[in-house]
Symmetry: C2
Subunit: 281 residues, 2 copies
């Protein structure tokens, strides 16, 4: 039976530390503030927003909600981004995506100042993830993977790490961050022909395949650490990850659950980015 790497204690420890830092900032006259830009009333956005607001309270971050109607114009969204850039009382911003289809999302994303880009939506922030330097922050979910490894004492240095998925939101950034932590990283994707053989060599296996329970027990090296980034709804309506948890936990040394794993840490990482921006990192 594998150790279950729950996200809640990671988020709790991060929140306590962030609250201290927020209080120090406030004592110095700086009120760490996160702009939350939402277009429309999508249920997924609203649910994530509730999580963020709750985490802000625990970490001493002040949320500032900006809500536009679903039929808003390109110009209106762009104007809000420019206001965020210019407002020195806002330290970082998150915009829920995807935006409604009539909006040019990429153009809007690029307008944000990378220094205020709490969830890596600009090319400038992505460049920073690739180069390991420069403005901006890593995508919150990708960084959550690293926070979980760190909290549970899994040092990637010299380990074989395999990432399934090559998206800009998870796969590529997490590969770069693992490489930055000195792991030897392999990225598998839809064109990989021998995925199971490759993942069976992984000391650390990060799964962001985007499909429910595609990684079975036979993919897992005995004793490996398995981080499941997937969130899917299965046929019965239950939440599940990209890993077949029941199978994998028999082989893995440690494994994150879904729900209650990576997803529980993202809002804490988001607030960490706000605090770091406010500290003038």
């Amino acid at each position: 039976m594998a150790e279950i790497l729950k996200g809640a204690p990671v988020a709790k420890q991060m929140s306590e530390e962030l609250l201290e830092r927020a209080n120090r900032l406030k004592a110095a006259g700086v009120n760490p503030t996160l702009a939350i830009l939402r277009v429309g009333e999508n249920e997924a956005d609203l649910s994530y927003e509730r999580g963020i607001l709750s985490r802000c309270e625990k970490t001493g971050v002040t949320p500032r909600q900006i809500i536009l109607p679903a039929d808003t114009t390109q110009e209106a969204v762009e104007a809000e981004i420019l206001k965020i850039n210019e407002d020195p009382s806002i330290h970082a911003a998150l915009m829920f995506r995807p935006l409604p289809k009539h909006l040019d999302e990429r153009r809007i994303c690029e307008l944000l100042d990378p220094r205020k880009d709490a969830d890596c939506m600009t090319q400038g922030s992505l460049a920073g993830v690739f180069t390991g330097r420069g403005a901006g922050f890593a995508p919150c979910t990708a960084q959550s993977v690293m926070e979980i490894l760190s909290y549970y004492g899994v040092d990637p240095c010299g380990k074989n790490a395999v990432v399934i998925g090559r998206s800009l939101v998870i796969g590529k950034p997490v590969a770069m961050m693992l490489m930055g932590a000195n792991a030897t990283v392999t990225v598998c994707h839809t064109k990989t022909v021998n995925t199971e053989e490759i993942t069976r060599r992984a000391d650390i296996l990060v799964v962001a395949a985007g499909r429910p329970r595609v990684v079975g027990g036979s993919f897992v090296k005995p004793g490996a650490t398995v981080i499941d980034v997937g969130i899917n709804v299965d046929e019965s309506g239950a939440l599940c990850g990209d890993v077949n948890f029941e199978e994998a936990e028999k082989t893995a040394g440690a494994i994150t659950p879904v729900p209650g794993g990576v997803g529980s840490v993202t809002t804490a990482v988001l607030c960490k980015h706000v605090i770091e921006a406010a500290e003038g990192r």
Copy 2:
């Protein structure tokens, strides 16, 4: 005995194609122009410059040399970069690096317009390599690896590719480009503990270790394609790669020589970037 993947025929074919495109541009009134910015009289820079000038002639690219003294000021170099940005008759630029130590190289690099960044010295261009979209061009040497694979009919799709080295100039960009070509990519580096075991699984092995002849025959899977990006001078004063060529060619299916391999293709890639910039890619 492995097939020897010489760079010269790759560069020759590219040059012929580029010359046609340059002639079409000139017929339309556009004279594809490369600014070459050199500070001082470093022998390595002068040698590379001679190669570039010769390649420009073969490809129909007009070089425009900008030469500053070794004791030039930060302001003077920055002013030249800004002039390049503003001059519509210059389509792309290359600056020899490293600059003399009294200059802030990173700051100078970042001033260049990524659309004119022929050798990926800006964060904006690096972001493009990472994301597979956006302004700018890949580093010439990294792209030379891909040009060689393409010329010799080695399709990375579904192959296991291993890159030794994680620099921003070669290792990381070539890993991204191989991944973009649908290879399953592993990056090894100085903290990798089982490099030899990993490289022995590589169908395509790209070596940018930066040390002479560190990859011996035992690192190579029988039949593999080995691309040696290294250029070193050995104890006897001879040029050699990062691969022990005599050993590796006994096992490899195909291998690039040093000299005469990857290094022979970089100036053709540079000129390709100038033509693409002039075409308004």
